[in-house]
Amino acid sequence: MYDLSNGGICCVLVLLIHQKRALWVTKLVPIKGSLSVSKLNSNILIVKNRRAALDLSQKVRVLCWVMTQPQHLKSRTQHIRATWGKRCNIVLYMSSEASDFPTVGLNVLEGRSQLYWKTIRAFQHIHMHHLDDADWFLKADDDTFVVLENLRYGLSKHNTEEPLYFGRRFTPFVAQGYMSGGAGYVLSKEALRRFVKGFADGLCTHNTEIEDIGLGKCMETMKVQLGDSRDVLGRQTFHPYPPNNYLPRQLPRPRPWYLLYEHYHPVEGPGCCSDLAISFHYIDAVQMHTLEYYTYHLRPYGYKYRFNPGERSENRNNN
């Protein structure tokens, strides 16, 4: 009897172990060469090397000011604060009133007619309180999406002590041209000094309600030069409209209305826009997060980008 039960137990054990092994084998993903898959986390595709971007943020300090108003804080500005605002070295949300957002109160009224006053007061405020805190000074609207890393990269080759300003160059109304307000524009330190000095000395005045034209006129008066913000392939980086205005392919056609002011010959379709785009405008809350997702999150694993500025061969068809 003893042997019988021994034999029985032995057999049961053997069979149970066999069953268990079968279960283990099925948990492993069967592939050639039988490599077991680690069940641990660490599939997060961490950015391994952000050195380049980090170095730039220390070398090329950008102060961003966002033109906004109390009614927009919830519908627009909070989405900037949640996305690109934090990438500025300093970000200031400029409004008619101070608040806990936090916003800076500019002591102006609200409304389209007050936009140039806002710009003037904003730059005066920045000149008074932050001139040494940054190297470059960006103005954006509360529906502009900005990629700070690409802005810094573009600015890195330029000297902030020179009177320069960058953005999307428009032709009419100002002889030397001016930069689109919606697409965002950025002033060098010297340009900021001259803008403020222009108003202090009465050389620049509030001569229009349209802030980008007004500022452009003052830049011309104060002999500030317009920079070329296009990438090495001639593609635009600042965009006064959303990406779907530019990217879809078009048959050759006369300029649509939103490209009428362009200084440089506009390109429609994929050649419109640099890979290292700096801004898009008329971006609502959902689009703001969508662009954030496209720029900073969604990516094709292992993909070798065609455009690699800074690498030896900048040739597009280098495969």
């Binding site: 779907n244 809350a285 997702y293």
Partner: protein
């Protein structure tokens, strides 16, 4: 001595019979698991970064070759603009992409299946693809209203053996049936295709034209035929469990997640390694193409273990 031995043997045999009975009982209860069901997981994740880093260069290049994809894009002339957009965008990243149409269009090239019934068309396309696969071992079926990031699909199936049955996508349940949602794309391994085509011959369990009054959508018919051949739907997700196959557009998903805390909209929405989105307009797909393959912040470098080169003769990626 002999009598002890024979007792032992009797014990062995009894125990053996006992165990056999128990295991039969078990398989009877499990029901859905038939023979050929090698893997138990219904959530399919990519290989971990750590594992990838341990692999040799030759294993890497083996896997890069093994993971090539044949895309079957099921079009109709009604979807001409989406068809053209898929042709101009994501399909260029498939190793081979073939458009299968219900009827031909003068504007675009496709394999004309001359078939109005969607399920019959899908069957024909699958047979054609299998016969023309060459040495490609992974198949991706989609409509042109879907946008797919093929590199991320490759990343998901990188360490999976295509000579095993795989049927992957965004899974849904219909009664007892787990099926992969069509709109977010369907991934099939070579073995799954082979079994499926074998099943096509079975007019009872996998009929070409049903006789019911109502039509079962082809995604469920597909799941049924696959299930009978021992192939089960698996949900493709990233390491955090986020679905990689989406049947909605990016804006839709972001909008859905904006409610509670807008600051987390992106985090909650979608995986960084998402594979598909659906329900996007052609111009939104052009923007997505730019967003995936071009737009990025300077200085953020990823040292991925694999390299996928851009396709030839393409200017929008």
């Amino acid at each position: 001595m002999m009598s002890e031995g024979s007792s032992f043997m009797k014990g062995m045999i009894l125990g053996g019979i006992f165990c056999l009975v128990m295991s039969f009982f078990e398989t009877f209860n499990s029901g859905t698991h038939s023979e050929g069901h090698e893997h138990l997981h219904h959530h399919l994740k990519p290989v971990s970064k750590d594992e990838l880093e341990k692999l040799s260069e030759s294993q890497m290049s083996d896997w890069t070759l093994q993971v090539r994809v044949y895309c079957l894009i099921m079009v109709t002339p009604k979807l001409l603009v989406h068809w053209a957009t898929a042709n101009d965008t994501w399909s260029k990243h498939c190793d081979k992409s073939v458009f299968y149409t219900s009827e031909s269009s003068k504007a675009l090239e496709a394999v004309d299946l001359q078939e109005q019934d969607e399920w019959a068309r899908l069957r024909k396309a699958i047979k054609h693809a299998y016969e023309n696969a060459g040495d490609l071992r992974w198949f991706f079926v989609a409509r042109p209203t879907t946008f797919a990031i093929i590199e991320n699909l490759k990343y998901l199936v990188l360490d999976k053996d295509p000579s095993q049955p795989f049927y992957i996508g965004h899974t849904e349940k219909s009664g007892e049936l787990d099926y992969v949602e069509y709109d977010s794309g369907i991934v099939l391994s070579y073995e799954a295709m082979r079994r499926l085509i074998g099943m096509f011959k079975d007019e009872d369990r996998c009929p070409e034209r049903g006789h019911a009054l109502w039509k079962t959508p082809e995604e469920k018919q597909l799941a049924t035929c696959l299930k009978y051949s021992g192939v089960f739907a698996e949900n493709g997700e990233d390491a955090q469990g986020k679905g990689l196959f989406n049947k909605k557009s990016v804006s839709s998903l972001i909008s859905d997640n904006m409610g509670q805390n807008p600051a987390d909209a992106v985090e909650a929405c979608c995986s960084d390694m998402a594979i598909t989105f659906a329900g996007m307009s052609p111009s939104q797909m052009q923007v997505l193409m730019y967003g995936v393959y071009r737009l990025r912040p300077y200085g953020h470098d990823f040292h991925d273990s694999l390299t996928f080169l851009p396709p030839k003769d393409s200017d929008n990626d």
